[in-house]
Amino acid sequence: MKDGSFWNKKVECLPEKELRKLQLERLQKIVSYVYERVPHYRKKFEEAGVKPEDIKSLEDVRKLPFTTKEDLFVDYPYGLLAVPKEEIVRVHTSSGTTGKPKAIFFTKNDIELGAELIARCLVMTGTTRGDVLQNSMTYGLFTGAFVMHYGAEKVGVFVVPAGPGNTERQLELMQLFGTTCVHMTPSYALYVASLIAERGIRDRLNLKRAYLGAEPYSEETRRKIEEMLGIDVYNCYGLSEMGGPGVGFECPAKDGLHIWEDAYLIEVVNPQTGEPVEDGEVGELVITSLCREAMPLIRYRTRDLTRVIPEPCSCGRTHKRISRMLGRADDMFIVKGVNIFPQQIESVLMGIKGVAQNYQIVLEGYNDFLVRVEIEKEFFDGRIERLLQLKEEITEKLRDEIQVRPKVELVEPGTLPVSEGKAKRVIDKRKL
């Protein structure tokens, strides 16, 4: 393992006790802050029968009500704003799939906070002055690109604000400016990597690292991209509601994502009951932003599934780690009474030779589902037996993993939706 260096060693390695003390101070402060400034929070707290002075320990956070997506639409769009409107310098919205997008506001300090956290993330993984970061996330209402951009500039990194898509131009930019790191979604990275392999232009690139986030992906996908490109891939996690990327980030140990606990208080709860799960158990991530000004959120239900990794990290940072995202509480689907996450399917598929990058899960009924899998071009040798064997292998391995036997359909390479953004993996045809 390489030695990670530090952007803010004092905070990143703050002894556990001091870190908890700092968190409690900030929690008490932010709870009073929203109680005084946000009528909706005051009302929620009063309904729950809790006052800011009731928060005497970090565990007391559980006395506070959760904030859910629905709360973001109360008195939309300014219902949860905690500062006068004049303090807002930017808005980002979430990539809402239905109806209104979530509107998340930023003050000048919020922008600065996001940049500080990203700076820690980049330096931790070896990106610093002299590096060239090609930022291939969407610039616009989505937080991903901007927050990374500001953080990288803060470190002194040369940023190429490429945005997503137009893969030909991405490859040209990489060669022209000697891009050393990229920031993109994992599904797009797979696509770019396969194009680089196809063109045989790896030698002309100076790529060293990729920061991949905005959609969950498996360890197998990470390894596949690392092998295809000969680079280090770091998993990053964030959400617009918490200010974008940089909430959780992998260090060179690549074993879980550190949450910057001076800025965020995390809990992992049972998605059904809201009760805390044991450390190490999978549940829904709940986050309280401790430092955001414009729109702090208290106990926000992220709907993302993860688990806490309780052991201290070999990198020396004291901030708690969580596992890579194991899916969305909402993506989970139930077939024959079994809870299934798309991540499970993906990790099985990535381990099978002959399977290309794209796949699709089609839910047709409550007792069966279909997995459509692209075959790898090179795998096809004209023999039907070979394809039937592959189909059988996929079916059996999936059944071993999820205990339900899916229908498997092999499709031509390149026919499933190509992912130049967030890949839609699950198609639900059931009439709910």
Binding site: D381, G382, L387, L410, E412
Partner: protein, 143 residues
């Protein structure tokens, strides 16, 4: 005297076979023989064409998955038992047939049987020994 056959992976999707043949038409590729092996969800289109390399390139450029494989083209009398006689030789030599397809130019004359077996070299030598006609690519095109 192996012959290059082009195999195309086809999803069971409306119009997919037509699209493949349209690509070949656009390249002015002429098809000498054709067969389709299918399962419930996908099929494999196998063809003997006059320009196999060009056909493969054009199909791939149009998003198809194609592969060139070697097969043997055998001349068989167009009469009852013609093909059975050839298969008997292969059976005796312990050769497995993966697939066969045949075409006839004019009834009563010679038919050509395209086949892939477990061992093409051995197939050729066994059949030649028995006096069975093995077609070269040029002969096949002029047939």
């Amino acid at each position: 005297m192996k012959i290059k056959q082009i195999s195309v992976f086809l999803e069971n999707k409306k119009g997919r076979l037509y699209e493949a043949l349209k690509v070949l038409q656009g390249e002015r590729v002429n098809i000498r023989a054709l067969s389709i092996a299918d399962t419930s969800e996908f099929g494999i289109l196998r063809m003997i064409v006059d320009k196999p390399e060009e056909a493969k390139k054009a199909l791939e450029e149009n998003g198809f998955t194609a592969k060139l494989t070697n097969v043997v083209a055998v001349g068989v009398k167009d009469e009852p038992g013609g093909l059975a006689a050839v298969l008997a030789y292969l059976y005796e030599a312990d050769l497995n047939v993966e697939y066969v397809y045949a075409f006839v130019k004019k009834a009563g004359e010679e038919a050509i049987v395209v086949m892939r077996t477990s061992n093409l070299e051995k197939t050729i030598s066994v059949l030649q020994e028995k006096g069975v006609k093995i077609f070269s690519f040029e002969e096949l095109l002029n047939f």
